[in-house]
Assembly symmetry: C2
Homo-oligomer: 224 residues x 2
DNA sequence: CGATTGCTTGACCCCCATCAATCCTCGTGG
DNA sequence: CCACGAGGATTGATGGGGGTCAAGCAATCG
């Protein structure tokens, strides 16, 4: 459901000097859980490189409902898209855990884009990859039931964030957030989660989710 | 709703020589209405440049339902995404009118991408633009009602394809296709269209749609 | 001129949004 | 240390949107 895989990890194709230059950027920032990195309408004068933590990337619909488009974690870049299209951001980025982010000014990025063909190609490939994921997400949103989407989302969350010692998905999400990922009301989301628990597909550790029957969960995601 | 605007018109930044070289490509093909240009799983050894006609780009969901992701017309490129990520296509492209397409082999595109920085940057910008549209579409699909999506789609179709002499949207779409664009059953789509007609927001010329009250249609699209 | 395909309308019912009430949990201050 | 308040989680009740099946109608085509 979510574009789970690490996007925008384009830095790996930069030369060693480039990486050092970028790592030494002066403006490394701490963002606390719940604070936003940027908001819809902000002009991003660069991109953010996530050194640690996780944030949700979301957008308000015209109906006033919130939709989470992506979850971004350590090693990902943030704001690349708006920078390239040279527009204000159309998305909000809010920390789900305390974060450490490093700001890379526009000029440095564009310098790389101009001089470093393999960096550009890599950005291009990541963008192509994101685009494919977005297209898949459109299809899922349009055609799948809430139950299917929830099952798929749980699986993808585990794939992306892994599990802790108890086997629970290694990311703290409120029920509301989960609802905003799959595009449904919080209550519907809760009801389905408790149904999944009754059927022993999942279990809880506090609010966190433990997948106990991945097979059946996958079947549900595919519509059985 | 749809990503209506011309994407992938990256050719404009190519040098004159490049354009001539590309225009002289030998493999120009005629595709008849209803035929497909490529299918899910096809390996695209290049991109298609649409010289004339319109095609729908769609994807089957795991439920077996069809979702139209985009409509592509004269001047657009097709298959750029799969080429860049060097994967088989995840989409189907089927002609809605008779088409003339020109095939540009992979090697030529990659030659341009390597040598022509402004071409690459332009591809990048188009990709960023597509990505933004896809994100918006995700939000719409997740949060808006079918009625809202239909209203929005009608407006965008008119913006993209213009109107003919009678003021009807200049593109022949079956009810099923419209349903597949907004992600709903054909019957629901028909019912809403006839409701819109009763309310005098739209009218029909044969099967084609004429917008008679764009204002109210826009209000509906925004949720009033 | 049958026959196939697409359009339209009706009936039915389930999924899910919404509103409301209660419970739980955790941080804060007395 | 406890009381209390606020925000999140949960459960119930309810109604409407829209999916689905079915039947009739229009139109296009060999």
């Amino acid at each position: 459901m979510l574009t789970i895989y690490s996007q925008f990890n384009s830095l790996k194709h930069l030369s060693k000097d480039d990486i050092i230059r970028i790592s030494n950027c002066k403006t490394s920032k701490i963002i606390k859980k719940g604070e936003h990195i940027f908001e819809e309408g902000d002009y991003l004068n660069g991109v953010y490189c996530i050194k640690d933590g996780v944030c949700k990337v979301s957008k308000m619909s015209e109906n006033g409902k919130n939709q989470i488009i992506n979850l971004v974690k350590r090693g990902d870049l943030l704001g690349e898209r708006s920078l390239i299209s040279e527009e204000v951001s159309n998305l909000n980025a809010i920390a789900l855990k305390d974060m450490e982010v490093c700001f890379i000014p526009k000029e440095e990025i564009f310098r790389d884009l101009e001089k470093n063909a393999s960096f550009t190609m890599d950005v291009l490939k990541n963008m192509a990859f994101s685009l494919k994921n977005s297209d898949n997400l459109i299809v899922d949103m349009a055609q799948k039931s809430v139950k299917q989407r929830l099952a798929e989302t749980i699986i993808k969350l585990q794939t992306k964030f892994g599990v802790n010692d108890s086997g629970a998905i290694n990311l703290q999400l409120s029920r509301e957030d989960i609802g905003n990922i799959i595009g449904t009301a919080t209550e519907s989301c809760i009801r389905l989660l408790s149904e999944f628990k009754k059927c022993r597909y999942i279990d809880f550790q506090g609010k966190n989710i433990i997948i106990t029957n991945k097979n059946d969960l996958e079947k549900i995601a595919k519509g059985f």
